[in-house]
Assembly symmetry: C2
Homo-oligomer: 253 residues x 2
DNA sequence: CGTCAGCTTGAAGGTGCTCAATAACCGTGG
DNA sequence: CCACGGTTATTGAGCACCTTCAAGCTGACG
């Protein structure tokens, strides 16, 4: 079977033949959509020599708040949470990352947040030093990272409005909407079905609420018929527009 | 008087003689610390042909939420607030910008937040199109913008913890600390004196509180002696460490 | 069938909000 | 100089929403 001609994704970069690619990368989920999409075959070969793919179980810690981290990574599958804590243990999730996001903070030795697997996660990690060198030479790579930083900044600001000004009911609706659009970014349908990748305590930490309040609001939301939830995690949204209407934020839309 | 030899700032870039610089830029506050520091003399000349400096009064709107903006700008003086609103008018400030920050959202035609002068502000604005072209050709420029985006992302995440998990007292202390370190980033002293660049309603919108709560907490904080406040805006902090201790967030410090 | 983690539900209490009145500040003009 | 209106900030009383604490429920797995 001729992969080059048949796989629609490969058409994106005809300059690179699969035969030149490291085996590790050939069938990789992040090969085109992640940062590796802007690396040359030569760079991929070099990087792949120091690359390892890991599975990380849900709830496992990947990096600690304030820790110096020696490796970057791409997320290939699953959901990763970024969280900050106060000295007395209160916790706030400050970001969620999905495949094929890049994990790491360029130009700074340490993250000032903890990194933890929310679900089972598959990552592809590699040494900082090598990528840092690529960044300084390949403007395309820095551009790609810049775009991700800007997207995360937009999302953080959107979430600041949620944390600072929305009621518990609106926060929970905002969360479900957020997951609905991130779980399958390609989907266009007005009807969605997905699994919530977080447990209630994570949702609470993301929303700045307690698990009890989250639970109560989910119950209420379910009673309105806007969402159907079974087995605690499985969500069906018959009409995404209706959910969106509960959390409308813009004057002009 | 020989500016080139006497002004210590010019030593930073001996490759560019002031005589080649646009007059507009020669004594500019953002010439070295802002993004212009990475532009070539040639780029500065081209940019300066389409550049204007404005004064903007406090509380004046610079751009609306969702509006398409045709110009970027550098902040030369004053404080700018970025804010988002819900449909029913609740407001949240999602960022503050100080000189010599770059103002604008690269790679996206519109901001999804409003931009407003918090104090009287002086800016230097120029067309998007020209800078966008420079960005695609000058990796240094994109790097500089990337660094600012990452810094803003770090600050947003820090603020998400404040909004999601801190009490009113801690939020107000966090705000004063934030302003103390931003008002004069160079200062190292443990004693600080500055003017709060926001009025109470802005502080409330930044902290996700009401003005009444902000006012009450400021009164309480003043009574502890950790800060002295006169004329509503003038703050004296005799011991910044003590203020920092009220809002400690990290396990490892 | 018992145990344990995760989730839901209930009752009571507290933090911050709403509504309302008072006070300080500031530029303008008599 | 003080009087004046408008804006901004403080203070008070009552209440609502979310939290806290506690008990019960559900499903997975031995």
């Amino acid at each position: 079977m001729d992969v080059v001609n048949l796989n629609p994704e490969t058409r994106e970069r005809l300059d690179i033949h699969n035969s030149e690619l490291p085996i590790l990368c050939q069938a990789c989920e992040a090969r085109h959509k992640g940062i590796c999409g802007v690396l040359t075959a030569e760079q991929l070969v070099r990087l792949s020599k120091h690359t390892t793919k890991h599975m990380i179980g849900a709830e496992q810690q990947i990096a600690f708040q304030g820790e110096t981290v020696a490796r970057y990574a791409n997320i290939l599958r699953g959901v990763v949470k970024l969280s900050k804590s106060t000295a007395d243990g209160r916790q706030q999730i400050v970001g969620l990352q999905f495949a094929p996001d890049f994990m790491g903070r360029p130009f700074s030795k340490e993250n000032d947040f903890a990194v933890e697997a929310a679900t089972d996660v598959k990552i592809c990690s590699f040494p900082r030093a090598i990528l840092d060198e690529f960044i300084s030479r390949a403007p395309d790579l820095e551009h790609r990272l810049h775009l991700q930083a800007l997207r995360e900044l937009d999302e953080s600001r959107e979430w600041m409005l949620t944390l600072g000004r929305k009621t518990a009911a609106e926060r929970v609706a905002s969360f479900l909407y957020f997951i609905a659009v991130h779980a399958d970014p390609e989907a266009t349908s007005n009807e969605r079905k997905f699994e919530i990748p977080l447990k209630r305590s994570d949702i609470a930490d993301f929303l700045g609420l307690t698990i009890e309040t989250v639970s109560r609001q989910i119950t209420k939301l379910r009673q309105t018929g806007i969402v159907h939830i079974s087995n605690n995690r499985t969500v069906e949204i018959p009409d995404l527009i209706k959910l969106r209407a509960m959390i409308e934020v813009n004057f002009l839309d």
